[in-house]
Every structure is written in structure tokens, then in C-alpha cells.
Amino acid sequence: MERVILHCDLNSFYASVECLYNPSLRNVPMAVGGDIEKRHGIILAKNQPAKKYDIKTGEAIWQAMSKCPGLIVVPPRFSLYMRFSQKVRDIFSRYTDRIESFGIDEAWLDVTGSVHLFGDGKKIADEIRQTIRQELGITASVGVSFNKVFAKLGSDYKKPDATTVITRENMKDIVFPLPVSDLLYVGYATTKKLHRYGIYTIGDLANADLAFLKRRLGKWGEYIWIFANGEEHSPVLPQLYEPYVKSIGNSTTAPRDLTTWQDIGIITHVLAESVAARLRDHQFKCSTVTVYVRDNELEHFTRQCKLEYPTDISREIAQSAMRLFRENIDFSKPLRSIGIKASDLSVGSSAVQLSFFTDQALRERESAIDKAFDQVRQRFGFYRIQRGCMKSDTLLSGFNPKGEHVIFPEGYFKAGE
């Protein structure tokens, strides 16, 4: 039996929730943006009137303001959006248990097993849209198709508050004329390559020679060719399945430019503590540490190194990160933001090969210190216990990346491609 897959996309999610709670914002251009004071200044979402000014998710607030001087920017309230996201999920679960979230504002639903109860894909999609509108006061676009990739194209096809059905019969009319960059996983770089080969639309890609694509783009060439032809069969991952975590990272834009090793050291320790604490929360250890550096002209680079042992110890992560920073930073330009990412994860309890040349007793003591930190912070709050170096500049150290972890909407990553 042909599958029935829905992709549901909450339109301008953050902005819609803010407009629901503040009716005076509904008819004026408004956006949800990061903290201007602390310079986390990007647009996370915008409402319909703001779209007329060509304001883009992911651009800097000052850029958006120059396009639309009257733009009202409100700070994000993530806990509120998480609550709404959960309520939307509750609505989905009236129809199926096969729900796969894609960011906070998008999800795939496999309703193949529910059509005999509730009617065909379009009927379920229309009902879900109506329910979201009535119960939550926000809107969604839904794509209905026989695979996940086309369902996603469908939800992008018509916005806001619309259902688009893509079948094997109409796919050539709807999907094939779309620009190839609309296809999932065809990012900026791939699009440029495909243009070079004269492939501009999804139809061009579907009709391209597979052997040629494989030669030019490797295995991704084959994947996107399969996507374009509607032959993608990956399942919608059921509700209880948490996608496997591949890395854990934190980054921050500092309240002032970073110009000395002391500045870098303070931020590095805050970030490393957060990354290590999150590793411990999930019982992971990491074997690779990656650092990210962006200067005040927004140029950026990443560097990574392998660790000798898998670790979740703050000091070891901080040390590796500091070494990478020292090897790669010359302060020719002041730095604006830095980040640390732990990857190559293993499950924390798995056996570790000990070495003669490492002070294992010291490692165990440091591990105990980290756990004590966790417990104090859990009981009394994050700022109750801090490393001494944090006190040397409380402006720089005064943030809690673990607790204030920013969740970007999917649109942010699209814009960043």
C-alpha cells in the first residue's frame, strides 16, 4: 500500500505565538530576535507584514531595521514556544503515533494506518490545520505525499495555512518546475554545482544521468537523484524514538569583543563546563573537541583535535579547546564569538583503556569535582558555584549556556547555508 505522509510546518512559529499573545503586533511588521544588548542580534522569525519588507530569518537585526525602520523586535520566549510545540504534538497524536519532529516547528506524520479511521491524507491535513488554528490560534502549512521529501516540499509550496497534496500523478506538474535548491539536503554548495551542470529545477535533476551525478557528487548525487524522483522510502521515526545525538556544543557571542587570552580563557571555561555537564547528563564521553571562532568582521573557522581518552571532564575539554585556540588565534582581529563542540561520542560507562603515563587518580578527582558542581548547581542554582577565574570578569562569565541554551528554528539553518 502507498504510504500517506504529512509534513506539518508551523508558519512563522515564534512570531505567530508572540502575535497571538500581543494582538497589537498582528498588523504591524514585527520580528522575534536575539538579545540586542548582548549582541545576539539575529532575526529568528518574522510575521506576515514584516515579510513584505523582505526581512529574512538569520539576518542581523540591524540589517532588518535598515530595510524596515519601524520594525518591532521582541525577545524570544523559548519556554513558551516549547509549550506550544508540545500542544501541537498532542494534536498530531490524535491521528498517529508515528511523529518525527524536525526542529521545534516542523514534523512528519505517517498516517498510513489512520486513513481508514479519519479519511484520506488531505482530510486529515485539513483537520489538523483547523484544529491548530482553533485551539492554539496559530497556523500551519501541511504537505501530503507518499514520501517524506515530497511531503516537505508540499508544506513549503503554499503558505500560510494551506494543504498541498503531491501524488505520483501530479508530481511532474508540481514538483518538477521547482528550483532544485528547494529539495531537502540540496544546500548552497550543491545548488551551485548543479547549476554548473545545467541542472536548475528538480525536474532537471530527476531526468539527469545517475552515473554522471554519482561521478560528480559521490553518494549524495545518488541520494538527491532518488529524492527528486520520489523514490525516497525512509520511515517516519515513531514517537518514542529519540534521534541519536552526534555532538554536543555551545557557543556564545560575547557582550564585548575578545582581545586577550584571559578573555578567551574565561569564555572557554564557561562553555567547556556547559558542554561537559551536558555530556554527563546524557552519559556520553567525547573523543573529539572542535572549536569555532568568529572575528568582528564575521569571518569564521573551525579546528578540531582528537583526545587521548574519551572524556566528560570540564578541565580536559577546556584544555584541549584552549590548545586549539592558542594554535590558531593571533588576535590580528578582535573576536566576537567562540564555541566548543564535543563529538565522536561514546556511552559513558563503556570500558576505558588506562595508561601508565596518565595520572588516573587526578582524573577521577576532577570527575568527582565536576559531579559536585552538578549537584550544587542543581540544588542551589547555576551561579552558586563558579571557578575563581570567572570572577575576574563577570561581564564575560555571566551567562549559563546550559540553562539558556538557544533553540534555533529550522529556518535559521536554511538561511545559514
Partner: protein
């Protein structure tokens, strides 16, 4: 202007877990008894700006919406 007004409510928490609002207490202390609840549903209020459980209440012969949003009650202020 239309808007959101939080109100005090006297509520009957029933043994089966249902919640039934009985009396709305206005800011000036005046009590309005809810004669009947005719519908309970999840709903958003575009007028007030919020979303939660919406109780359609008959008060002195007039039908009004009363919303329970998380742990606070509100009504839609008139135009």
C-alpha cells in the same frame, strides 16, 4: 479596546478530575454566579490573546467565554 482580563474564579474540582468554574469575582468585588457551562473545549482567543481551555458560561442569561490558561483564568474584555 478588546483585550485580556485575568479574573478570580471560585472553582469546583470534582472527584473525577473535572474542573467546573462556579463564580467569577470582578475586580470591584462583585460576584457573578455561573448558571451553566454549556461547552468545554480547547481554544485560542484571538480577541484576548491567549490559548487554553475555553468554558462557555451562561451568566445572567448571557453567554460568555471563560478561559483557563495554564493556572490562570481570563475573560475577553469587551470592544
Amino acid at each position: 479596546m478588546a483585550g485580556k482580563m485575568y479574573v478570580d474564579v471560585i472553582v469546583h474540582h470534582q472527584a473525577d478530575g473535572k474542573i467546573k468554574p462556579l463564580v467569577i469575582i470582578w475586580k470591584n468585588g462583585v460576584k457573578y454566579a455561573i448558571d451553566k457551562v454549556t461547552q468545554v473545549t480547547l481554544a485560542a482567543s484571538l480577541k484576548a490573546g491567549g490559548a487554553g481551555v475555553r468554558y462557555t458560561c451562561i451568566i445572567q442569561g448571557v453567554s460568555r467565554y471563560l478561559f483557563l490558561e495554564d493556572d490562570r483564568w481570563f475573560i475577553e474584555k469587551g470592544d
